[in-house]
Amino acid sequence: MKLTQISAACALAAASLFAASAHAQISGDVVKIGFISDLSGLYADIDGPAGAEAIRMAIADFGGNVNGKKIELLVADHQNKPDVAASKAREWIDQQGLDMLIGGTNSGTGLSMAQVMLEKKKPYISIGAGSSALTSEKCSPYTIHYAYDTVALAKGTAPAVVKAGGKTWYFLTADYAFGTALQADATAAVTKAGGSVVGSVRAPLASSDFSSFLLQAQSSKAEILGLANAGGDTINAIKAANEFGITKTMKLAGLLMFINDVHSLGLKATQGMYLTDSWYWNQSAETRAWAKRFFDKFKRMPSSLQAADYSATMFYLTAVKAIGTDDGDKVNEQMRKSKVNDMYTKGGYIRADGSMIHDMYLMQVKTPAQSTTPWDYYNVVSTTKGEDAFLTKAESKCALWK
């Protein structure tokens, strides 16, 4: 009797001590999540303010606190400038006690933020940036590349197009880190699938007119025009390609297209195009349910990035809750032991190089006749297993995965 009383008291004391220490391990008594993305430029629709709102949705769904400690979100616009992104991240860590950073669109900014987070030893989840360098030559123990990368896009779309008969390729490439990475990865995938690349042209980011580049592409006599660009650049290139009759002699392959791009171009200009994405709102009952909540707020369907923003926030908060601390190293370790199982993906896990390994989907844009409801834009053609979608160990240049 006495013995059980004593042991119960001890257990109670231990438990309360443990709880106290766990609470003490939430730095500054608040879990601070940062989100730095393009909030106002050419990539703002695919992630942007609605991405920040998706993170807020996740925080609210999590209950707004971890073990009684408040969760806060800081949001900043990097204006597509790597130096702005890096200095904002540094400022938040030094002055605001930031615990984790979610990186938005634009690979140039993504790479610069990864560098800061490595230096400060805080977890960094990159979502909007596509460059595979984040988990290859520039990989870091603190970076998690969550949604997609240029390798996964190339491995998804290029072989499918080559298989459908598009053997010769010409690339229209955005002239910065992301575009060149995407072109290199797609070239490898095209060659491996038995096709060939006959040329390429590099257009400056946010060019106002693509007709000149398209004419060059057309005179190459290639069958496929690979668009190694994103956002507004892809939209304007596809528009001009339709106008100049390029689409009569060449087929377009958008290497990075989001549903927002298809929406603003319309199905007439995009029908039949192949694209690869990590998520589509109309995939399952679960995705539709979440997408509906998003739609009610924004009157548009979420992109894969916005879904990933939500998922990554949940994933991080779950890890913090499980170990009772927001200590950078410990959460980082915990996340790398956990699985992602939610409406975004099933059975996702983080590989040694930082890639979150999950299935990718090859979609084909529907014809106007096939599309029955608003935002009903894609047929899911095939699923690429996570293990086959991203860089292989042989291809990777990441020192952490050797």
Binding site: G41, G48, R202, L215, Q216, H263, S264
Partner: protein
């Protein structure tokens, strides 16, 4: 036959495309030159007015079913009226002080307009269809030229030359030019100078809107379309010589051609070639190619 290693067909095609882009530069820099020449205002809101012009056309079609040809008329009128309001309520207070204030004011207006349209329409923007009459393309042998682009060149050249004619060759233009040289004296002759200045600003804004409607079917109508273009257009004005009307037209077309060729020979530099030329011109002729030293 080849020129610098490029087949002559491709070369001609690129020149033509350069001309298309150049006609946009010409039309926008013309409006800026008129406003600067006659009001001394560096109108940084010009890009925003161009964007608003395109959106007026978009909304007119989308909400009211007003077609392209009417939009080409209505949009400049709406934006011109907006310009008149801006001139009456804001700019008119600034004529007596340093021109830098006019620049800051119009820059602020541009940022506000961009923010408001971003809030209303999102950044991805909207597609504006090519009017039925100008659908399709003509095969010129060396390239396929969309009919609409050909129309852009014709329309903008007509507008540019018309504006030049009014200002340089008519009595009204003479009053305008005199009014800016010596407002007090012209006023003494019984000419209402403030109204003239107001209409000039409105006219400059209408030119920007006209360019916006012309551009709408070619590029995505987005709140950022103006700010992507305005910096280049300013460089065009500086190269041509601030305030020189014919200068801005010729420079606009010329730089369009040069930029087009850069896209072939060294595409990566196509977004900066205009600024390189601007730097060189400023070193050799600080008043611009067609400007007069004061």
């Amino acid at each position: 036959m080849e020129i610098f290693g490029i087949p002559i067909q491709a070369f001609l095609g690129q020149l033509l495309l350069g001309l298309v882009n150049g006609s946009f530069y010409a039309m926008l820099s013309l409006g800026l030159a008129v406003i600067f020449g006659l009001l001394g205002i560096v109108n940084f809101a010009h890009g925003a007015l161009y964007m608003i012009g395109a959106y007026v056309a978009f909304v007119a079609l989308d909400k009211f079913g007003i077609n392209y040809w009417f939009a080409l008329l209505i949009s400049p009128l709406v934006v011109g009226a907006l310009g008149v309001v801006i001139e009456r309520t804001l700019l008119k207070r600034l004529y007596k002080i340093d021109p830098i204030y006019g620049l800051l004011l119009t820059f602020g207006l541009a940022l506000i307009a961009e923010g408001v349209f971003r809030y209303w329409f999102d950044v991805s923007g909207q597609s504006y269809p090519v009017p039925d009459l100008l659908q399709g393309a003509t095969n010129l042998g060396f390239m396929v030229l969309p009919n609409y682009r050909a129309w852009v060149v014709v329309a903008s050249l007509a507008v540019c030359l018309g504006t030049w004619f009014v200002i340089e060759r008519t009595r009204l233009g003479a009053y305008l030019r005199a009014g800016t040289e010596n407002p007090a004296l012209v006023q003494a002759f019984g000419i209402n100078v403030p109204v003239m200045v107001m209409l000039t600003y409105g006219g400059g804004c209408a030119l920007a809107a006209f360019a916006g409607v012309l551009a709408a079917p070619v590029i995505q109508v987005t709140p950022l379309m103006g700010s992507n273009l305005i910096i280049i257009v300013f460089a065009v004005v500086v190269i041509g010589g601030m305030g020189s009307i014919l200068g801005s037209i010729l420079t606009g077309l010329g730089l369009g051609l040069i930029e087009g060729l850069t896209k072939v020979f060294y595409p990566e530099a196509s977004s900066i070639v205009v600024f390189v030329i601007m730097a060189i011109v400023l070193m050799i002729r600080p008043a611009g190619l067609f400007g007069k030293e004061k």
